[in-house]
């Protein structure tokens, strides 16, 4: 059984990663994921202002997920909405365990992901790219966050849904972010209507899918940093 776009049910869309694309940033990542296009950049760590927002025990992550106005079917208002803010919050949380933040007390690390073109799975693509941008910035990584959506469409449990699959009558969509290689779930958001047995299956598909994303992330890092790659 294959899908609308001829993929296997557990197959990722084509993913294309390029590190270090933004010269002025400390770290950056360009990522194409099917018809999604994301750029993520990292600036910092740098002193936190205003100071009362700083944490004296570790760096604070300020993650911003944004969609370009032209990234979606109807032009999106550039002012961030509640959805943008919620995704920024939980994605920022997801990155906390991937970086050794204790090395940089009283600082902030600005991480920005912008969706230039959107076709389902944008928060996973943005988080995957952000994690790579952190590595590209030379931050002390404990691991990478590998994210992907898994769910159900037309009765099948599928990995990495497209917009068309999200719009099917029985769609379930679960965004999963996994800290790799530790295999810990750091992001999980879901909407749908599914019995527990099936959803557990979906989660399992998602976690396995995150491993596939991780392999591509490692490859991209090794391409740019062939000698230093200690994440394999």
């Amino acid at each position: 059984m294959t899908r609308l776009d001829n993929r296997q049910i557990d197959q990722l869309r084509p993913i294309n990663i390029k590190l270090g694309v933004v010269k002025s940033a400390d770290g950056s990542c360009y990522l194409e994921w099917g018809r999604n296009i994301v750029i993520a950049t990292v600036h910092g760590p740098k002193p936190m202002f205003p100071k009362h927002l700083a944490d004296s025990t570790k760096a604070v992550i300020d993650y911003r997920y944004r969609m370009a106005p032209f990234s979606v079917s109807d032009r999106k208002n550039p002012v961030p909405g509640k959805r943008d803010k919620e995704i920024s919050l939980v994605s920022g949380f997801a990155l906390e365990k991937a970086i050794d933040l204790e090395q940089f007390p009283n600082t902030v690390i600005d991480i920005n992901s912008i969706i230039l073109s959107a076709d389902a799975g944008t928060r996973a693509a943005a988080l995957t790219a952000a994690s790579l941008a952190c590595a590209d910035a030379g931050l002390p990584m404990k691991g990478l966050v590998s994210a992907v959506a898994s769910g159900r469409a037309n009765g099948e449990f599928v990995l990495d849904l497209t917009k068309d699959e999200e719009d099917t009558f029985d769609a379930v969509d679960t965004a999963i972010g996994v800290l790799m290689p530790q295999n810990e779930i750091v992001l999980m958001q879901m909407d749908g209507f599914v019995n527990q047995k099936d959803w557990k299956k979906i989660i399992s598909v998602g976690v396995k899918g995150a491993e596939k994303v991780y392999e591509l992330q490692k490859k991209a890092i090794l391409e740019k940093y062939p000698l230093e790659g200690d994440l394999q």
Partner: protein
């Protein structure tokens, strides 16, 4: 919120949890006492006052007439808004909604929305032109942890208690309420169940002290054993096994809480 008391108590919470105990004597998988009063706000079309332990949320329902979304021209819509104001904490600002209120409100909203327990098709007024919009405004009166579940319970209870307003001759909202309840499928009532993890122990319905101590949260929206939404939050992580355990736990808890909710009808 963020008071020195929390810092002091965090130590105690942590010590006890190592023995599988909680500061308030509950079992790890035990909800606090849940009290719900409905019809508390005469000016609202439906209302509820939820006390979950010391956490208190008031939900009130108002209707408006609006345009349907282009992709569902025959369906009403709803909007849930949670306000964390200076009433419940000196740290909540009055003004633009802060990030916590946004997250908690959206998690509660997703549980309600995905369950499809309201038949929005019955809330169309003029096909493609006018529909009922349900505003669910939730206000935190006392914040002592697990605002997500308390908000969702309050919203639910208020919706179950709601009467639809009578329309005037121009299809605008009139002053009086009809005797019609919302078109709700009582077999699809979704509950939000929230967990925190402290020292690798999973506990349900956290107090504020426990939330302060924990760095990992998980919220599920479910109807019996059907999952309709979830949210992992905060800076920690879960294993796949832990997620599965929480799913099973939430399903076990559903019946006792839904009984309280349904007793209101």
């Amino acid at each position: 919120m963020s008071s020195i008391l929390n810092i002091v108590n965090a130590d105690n919470v942590l010590k006890l949890i190592k023995e599988g105990k909680r500061l308030d004597g509950r079992n790890l998988d035990e909800f606090r006492n849940l009290e719900i009063k409905t019809g508390v706000i005469p000016s609202a079309a439906g209302s509820a006052w939820v006390k979950l332990g010391n956490t208190e949320i008031i939900a009130g329902i108002k209707f408006a007439v609006g345009s349907p979304y282009p992709d569902s021209p025959d369906e009403g819509s709803m909007s849930l808004n949670l306000e964390l104001t200076g009433i419940s904490s000196p740290d909540f600002f009055t003004g633009p909604p802060q990030i916590d209120a946004i997250e908690y409100g959206r998690v509660a909203d997703r549980a309600l929305r995905s369950s499809e327990f309201i038949d929005f098709k019955k809330l169309s007024i003029v096909s493609g032109e006018k529909v009922f919009v349900i505003f669910i405004d939730c206000i935190a009166i006392n914040a002592d942890g697990n605002l997500i579940d308390a908000t969702e319970f309050a919203a639910l209870a208020a919706l179950l208690n709601t009467k639809i307003p009578i329309l005037d001759e121009n299809n605008n909202i009139g002053k009086e309420l009809s005797s019609d309840s919302l078109p709700i499928d009582l077999n699809k009532i979704p509950l939000s169940i929230t967990f925190e993890k402290i020292d690798n122990k999973i506990l349900i319905d956290p107090t504020e002290e426990e939330e302060f101590t924990s760095n990992t949260r998980f919220s599920l929206g479910l109807i019996k054993d059907t999952i309709v939404s979830c949210q992992k939050s905060k800076g920690g992580s879960f294993s796949e096994d832990e997620i599965n355990i929480m799913i099973d736990l939430a399903i076990k808890k559903y019946d006792s809480i839904i009984k309280i909710i349904k007793s209101l009808i």
